[in-house]
């Protein structure tokens, strides 16, 4: 029972202080789980990060579920996930309340309008990172041109055509590229 509470409060802290998404949460989780409470070894933690990266969903939820499960079964998983989500839930609810109350005000509109181009830029940056991982399995300076993955390049172009020309469902494009690409890899 005590371990459950410990876990719950650890993950509330992770949820509260992981500002800036995804990878920002990793050192926090490591600090709470490995260094402070000794609930996992560093090796187990490295495994956890590998698994979290391989599965869909935010890294902090993935690791909360994984740690919870490992130490206290399914109730543990639920409690840890709840802990990591709770601060975000309350803060965003507050923000949403103010946004929908005041968003039609001129000043608020001006501020929001200057945020939108930045959001577009951030999404494009994320897209380029994923594209270079798909095409070269590396990022920016580590890209080796001879390591070009032709199958992924064809899938990417095919995906764009499917989305823009045939208005194919995005989820279908993601899973379709997974299935077609895997078959292609084993045939070539």
């Amino acid at each position: 029972m005590l371990i459950l509470w410990k876990l719950f409060f650890s993950f509330i802290k992770v949820g509260l202080f992981s500002v800036g998404g995804g990878y920002a949460a990793i050192p926090l989780i490591q600090n709470q789980i490995v260094d402070i409470h000794h609930l996992m070894t560093m090796e187990e933690f490295a495994d956890l990060i590998t698994i979290a990266e391989m599965t869909p969903g935010p890294i902090s939820i993935n690791s909360a579920t994984f740690v919870g499960n490992k130490l206290a079964g399914i109730p543990g998983a639920l409690l840890c996930t709840f802990g990591v989500v709770l601060p975000a839930f309350l803060l965003c609810l507050l923000l949403a309340y103010f946004y929908y109350k005041y968003r039609s005000f001129g000043g608020v509109q001006t501020i929001l309008a200057s945020l939108r181009p930045a959001v577009v830029a951030l999404i494009s940056g994320a897209g380029l990172s994923i594209l270079s991982l798909a095409l070269f399995q590396a990022q920016k300076a580590d890209i080796v041109l001879s390591n070009f993955h032709i199958i992924e390049a064809i899938l990417f172009v095919g995906g764009i055509i499917a989305l823009r020309k045939f208005k194919t469902n995005a989820i279908l494009v993601i899973f379709g590229s997974g299935v077609i690409g895997t078959i292609a890899y084993y045939l070539v």
């Binding site: 975000a88 309340y97 946004y99 001006t110 994320a126």
Partner: protein, 207 residues
């Protein structure tokens, strides 16, 4: 004037839709599906949400989706969760937030719980590794499609300040490695400066 009445009609339509209990189930179902497909981080789900809620369902306007993303990025916690809290609130208040967050959290919870029982096998399985690698191509295609639409809408405003802001923040984030949080805060202060400048101009004009 005409545009305004169109918007208010739209809002009326959404409000009618809000009344049906259907919207909660739709919200849950959609967030569950999108969350299950979010390979590769927070901005993937934002792209998927934009396609689904703006283009397909027409629940949100494009600007609103960008605002939600900016707010979600500036709160602590995972981006998909934050975005679904705000979106849920927009659709059906606190209850909507609750339902949307459960929809978003369940897929990773179920998948990781299932995997934690045989993660050695999962981690060393070559077919899974290949599938995950090639799937990135599809994810990248979805993001590029969304970015193309968003960026061309910014360019269409012909506002040089916003276009420049988009290019500069892109370089800051992608090439110089500034964090998303820092970039949002910088633009927030820029926005506040614009307001102060406008106020000063007005003040001078009056004097």
């Amino acid at each position: 004037m005409k545009k305004e009445s169109l918007i208010s009609e739209e809002i009326l339509e959404i409000n009618n839709y809000k009344k049906t209990e259907h919207v909660l189930w739709d919200l849950f179902k959609t967030m569950f599906m999108l969350s299950a497909c979010t390979f590769g981080g927070g901005f993937v789900i934002v792209s998927l949400m934009k396609k689904k809620f703006v283009e397909e369902l027409g629940w949100l306007e494009e600007d609103e989706m960008l605002d939600i993303t900016a707010m979600a990025q500036s709160c602590p916690g995972p981006l998909p969760i934050n975005a679904s809290v705000i979106l849920g609130y927009r659709m059906k208040g606190i209850l909507g937030s609750f339902v949307a967050v459960i929809g978003t959290s369940l897929p990773p919870l179920i998948i990781i719980t299932a995997i934690s029982y045989f993660y050695e096998e999962f981690r060393s399985n070559r077919v899974i590794a290949t599938a995950l690698q090639v799937m990135r191509a599809g994810v990248a295609a979805v993001i590029f499609d969304v970015v193309y639409n968003l960026a061309s809408n910014i360019i269409k405003t012909k506002n040089r300040f916003y276009i420049l802001l988009m290019i500069v923040t892109f370089i800051m984030n992608y090439f110089l490695g500034f964090s998303a949080m820092l970039i949002i805060l910088t633009c927030l202060s820029l926005g506040i400066c614009t307001i102060l400048l406008d106020l000063r101009k007005e003040h001078k004009a009056r004097c």
